[in-house]
Subunit: 399 residues, 2 copies
Amino acid sequence: MGGLRGKVAVVGVGMIRFGELFDKSFTDQMQEAYLNCINSVDKGFETKMLDAAWFGQWSGGILGQGAQAGSPLASGIGNMHIPITRVENGCASGQDAVRNAAIGVASGLYDVVLALGCEKMRDKPSVESLIGVGGGGGGILGYHPSWMLGMGGPSMQALYATRQMYEHGVTQEDFSRVAVKNHYNGARCPYAHFQKEITLERAKAAPPVCWPLNLMDCCPQTDGAAAVILCKAEIAKNFTDKPVYVWGSHLGIDHANYWDKKQFVSILSTVRAAKGVFEMAGITPQDLDFAEVHDCFTNIELMHYQDMGFCEMGKGHLLLREGYWNMDGTLPVNPSGGLKAHGHPIAATGVGQICEAFWQLREEAGARQVKLNKGLGLTHNSGGPGFGTAGMHILSREL
Amino acid sequence: MGGLRGKVAVVGVGMIRFGELFDKSFTDQMQEAYLNCINSVDKGFETKMLDAAWFGQWSGGILGQGAQAGSPLASGIGNMHIPITRVENGCASGQDAVRNAAIGVASGLYDVVLALGCEKMRDKPSVESLIGVGGGGGGILGYHPSWMLGMGGPSMQALYATRQMYEHGVTQEDFSRVAVKNHYNGARCPYAHFQKEITLERAKAAPPVCWPLNLMDCCPQTDGAAAVILCKAEIAKNFTDKPVYVWGSHLGIDHANYWDKKQFVSILSTVRAAKGVFEMAGITPQDLDFAEVHDCFTNIELMHYQDMGFCEMGKGHLLLREGYWNMDGTLPVNPSGGLKAHGHPIAATGVGQICEAFWQLREEAGARQVKLNKGLGLTHNSGGPGFGTAGMHILSREL
């Protein structure tokens, strides 16, 4: 397997404020994120400079919004003259759109490319949504086997949460602490869905959704869009004096169905993505200044610390109690607020994490800026049926 | 825009016989196509040789089969240790999966990759299927704007067919002639859904579906799967003494909605894909020995001759009458039987066309073998909402 170091740069990023965007159409969201993205390019950017695009889009088919393909993005950016691939890989759709865009640049076929993720999650009522406790055959996930057996998002995640409590001594209070940390960060991010701190008492007292998880353990259903422009590293300075470089990009896979899983304290797609991305970048977790990590439910963030090698198995919640993952801790996790506070418009989430990493590495993150040491950040999403996919990137301020 | 010549080879292909495969699961179909594919590699192949895969899959969300992502393919091929991207680009999903796989090889990240397309189209009744005349809000395409206005596949295609008749003097008999040609070819292909010749009289007398199109102008709803293995050109001879090389790979885009179209005698996504793919390959249509062309409805094959530069605008049906596109004609089109006779399991169709091109270029196509001159073949699908996407490849027996 070859690498990406020295080949691919990020030169512009943009997103819209995530939230319940009933006043914006799908196309509106794409346009606004795209315009923010091209307007962010320091030395200017025009749509005709694009050679190709990758479109992260998950909800189209599932939510009954019809087939998507690449063409809706063409309308969103007003360009019918480039190839546009729609990528769908569950909650890793955004990371994988960026990954395929980076591969496109590395291939030599395209010099300048776009990755954009967009979702309208709120156009379906919550009872039919991912957060629906039961789900079942009538839910939005239709005939997916897990959902047919009555497994919605929270009930599937509870299988892990209870096992984390049993095997590692994690408590419900630890889950709440993740929410408190991520809301603290999200309150400092102008693009976050929830820009509001919460107390530990408030988090612990939230109504139960599926034991041991309560409402404050669940990320919201969120509309959103985010976009990034990547180019060949050697032309990056044509666009900005401060490009950010892609050192690693990898996708991990695991079984799609829960009945194939052998344990419930680890997400194997994340383990595999992490192994690949650190190898590709040639760094270790200890080199990172921050990480944006998938926290669709608070308990999964604790597993991901361990699965990505940030700490020993079973120790994530102990370090959490010490403030290790806080914005001013040893390894800040989710300075953007994470899925919990920033929101989770599936494919837009991963592209948005790349935006956040770009801002952090350029020290443009304002009140949520982390302290940089080596100038390296990580982004991560896991998802799909049975958390069968996980996408990761390692970004650097150095070539 | 860079090129692919000299970089990427196809070293193995496999498909299953397309048809109504109620006796095979989705996973069964993938496994059988994949095993046929790896068993086709002359010097042997093992799954552990794969570095990455791209999964063409359209129907998952739309047909209520749930989210797909990359992980179902991992189960199909028994490999949890490589990145797998799901690509969805309407009826061009298969071509685009192969395109992204070729880009992956060209990037230097991966030496050996898989592209596989699989669909279960028959698990929904015809009345809710693509061929449903009305479609509407209750059909499988859910809330897609075109379908909400009562536009199913045949009724959308009739907009073009009537305009072809008006502007170019095409007749309903010409549409029938396309069906007769493609059934003749399909009768000679062991993987085709319909392996049966039809007479012009029979085709003309078929019951109407949506005037001017009758049942014999419509491709069937078909289950199927197809797979191809691509690798770096310089290691191709490790796998076979007769590799086939990818000279061009491109995707064209157009508006997704019919109300944005300015004319109905040309598919602009195909025009753009053709321009890009011929430029990339550095050849002209006159260099081709054969082409596999998207014929979901017979009339669209006539437009595609013209849109790809095979002949002048408005002349495709005149050349058809002379036998120009026949298997023994000047430029054989759809030796496999095309979508009309071979069937159209969306993403499997495009990957299957690459299989057919591989066999033709290696002169292994048996009773449907075309005569080779320069050893160059083309594959093509258009689709998505409003034929907003078109994927194309140019393959060569020479490096």
